[in-house]
Symmetry: C2
Subunit: 337 residues, 2 copies
């Protein structure tokens, strides 16, 4: 990335290498209802219900572009956790937050963070019920989300089967384009800027859609697209032991216009972006109508983009031409816009 | 503090001021089984059981003294959360961890952190089942602990009543003395050093004791002493609307010897230390034997130190002399050893 301007940072280990190194040192809990490495973790509560748990940390220095307020950053820290609940069909109930704050941070910034956390939780029916604060060099917002789900309707990453329809809950590329505007100085009209930047500053989780899909029992596998559409597809494929052939990629109109104006590839922005909170799911063909109407009944939409296949690659067929969708996207430490 | 050597850092806002500023901006969840600001948070799961939730963050730069390994720091990050569960009589089941890591951190340090997290959880029967990693300037370990408890046996901070016996689960001052050795260069024999420093590097949570006390239903109020004995007593008093008259403070023998050798006040080390994970509880006199034998049945001890009184101060009566126990202890941002 970085075609319009500035550079990249790097680290010794990539985020996924770190996760593997950590995982290798952990004893696994027996009988986990959700495998390690899925969007959320879960614990059996009784025969039917599971407690759903998730943590996702936001570090202002690396995750918050200039121009984004503390209120927005804190709200987003909650929303990105809610999005993982949405992808599993779990209901968020309560959030706890561990805050790392520089000693010099003014009181109004602390208050803005608190209000943003509250706003993010209340938007999705949850409450912030506790937390911890510590002195740290960076502003660090570690959100922990708790909720519940029916064990049998949890939508995991590993259930996609050959023949299933691949579908998404919206159009892609706006946050990738927004980040280019913010970080790389890409040019854009004032109106377009507003749309693209607001997708970065004020993301929304597809919670209603996720809960409706879980209730429909029509979904065989699900993930959110927070690491980018391409990466999410590869994760679903890897965890399910399948591949995908895509016949379309829903690129947002605004992204097409932005890409044209800046000489960028709109498809790349849609596939290899990130910080975008759509759902990526697979559905058995006989349940398609059920899945589609479940999402539409809550005001959303479900866009079919391809099929699950045996060949374990992710291929995009456009205008009769095939191209390989690469397993890359948004990764902390290694890729920065 | 700092009588033996180095100085203090400070911040614009104290930890408790920050918590108040945050709390004021949050909408409270209706019907919370545990009030905001107690050691843990909780959510009703069914009529009888509650989900218990806790987060406590460790920042290496401010919370980890020189000489403490990453393995020990990570283990301690779990143990300090378990200690809050112990104080409420809740069973820890699963931990999630958000890690902030400098990009330059070597792989072996990441592995040591993971092993330490696993060790801390397994010691108390819990498992690490998920988490998140991010690039950050400091090593940040935010642990999120989930477990369950019977709603009716939860031991809250606010239940102490006039006439109850105040008791603790052990002797105090070792971690305060250990920090003086580590941070202020206080002098000590090699053998004593080992004991004092290990209480800082390898703390233990009184989980068995806490669970046994909860089962006994003999406790009217409970807190852990992680912010220091004096501070914990004042918190119990404040949340219960009472005061305490203490007749003794159990000071560890090693602390008496250390204090004498360095010309320090052993009582001050025991009262105003912190990072010590004993339980501080109140018990109705008619339940005393029940409480004591519950703790002894799991190999622990319960030491009576005073009485709950109407006068909302905390007074220590020693050798016929009264002294006021101050509401100070271990506070991030404002007090550093």
């Amino acid at each position: 990335m970085g075609e319009c301007g500035s550079g990249a940072t790097s680290g010794a280990l990539g985020e996924r290498e770190i996760i593997e190194a950590v995982k290798a040192r952990l004893e696994m809990m027996p009988g986990m209802p959700v495998p390690f490495g899925d969007d959320v973790s879960a614990v059996n509560v009784d025969g039917k219900r599971v407690a759903v748990l998730k943590t996702d940390m936001l570090v202002a220095r690396t995750d918050v572009p200039a121009g984004m307020s503390f209120w927005q950053a804190a709200r987003k820290a909650v929303v990105m956790n809610v999005s993982d609940f949405a992808a599993k069909g779990a209901l968020p109930i309560a959030a706890l937050v561990s805050l790392g704050l520089p000693g010099s941070l003014p009181r109004e910034d602390v208050e803005a963070i608190a209000s943003g956390l509250n706003a993010g939780a209340r938007e999705y029916g949850a409450y912030v019920i506790g937390g911890d604060t510590n002195e740290a060099s960076d502003v660090v917002i570690a959100v922990f989300l708790f909720g519940t789900a029916k064990r049998e309707t949890l939508m995991l990453r590993g259930g996609a089967r050959v023949g299933d329809i691949v579908a998404v809950s919206g159009f892609f590329g706006k946050s990738a384009a927004g980040l280019r505007v913010l970080l790389d100085g890409c040019k854009v009209s004032e109106k377009l800027r507003e749309v693209l930047v607001s997708s970065v500053f004020m993301p929304h989780a597809r919670l209603k859609e996720g809960l409706a899909l879980a209730s429909s029992s029509a979904v065989s596998a699900s993930i959110d697209s927070s690491d980018g559409l391409a990466w999410s597809l590869h994760e679903l494929a890897r965890m399910s032991g399948v591949g995908f052939v895509l016949e379309s990629v829903p690129v947002a109109d605004e992204v097409r216009r932005f890409a044209e104006f800046n000489g960028l590839n709109a498809l790349d922005l849609a596939l290899y972006g990130g910080e975008e909170y759509e759902l990526v799911v697979t559905v058995k063909p006989k349940f398609w109508v059920k899945a589609e109407s479940a999402v539409e009944s809550v005001g959303g939409r479900l866009l079919p983009i391809g099929k699950v296949v045996r060949d374990k690659r992710v291929i995009l067929k456009l205008d009769g031409k095939k191209q390989l969708v690469e397993a890359r996207g948004w990764e902390h430490f290694k890729s920065k816009p």
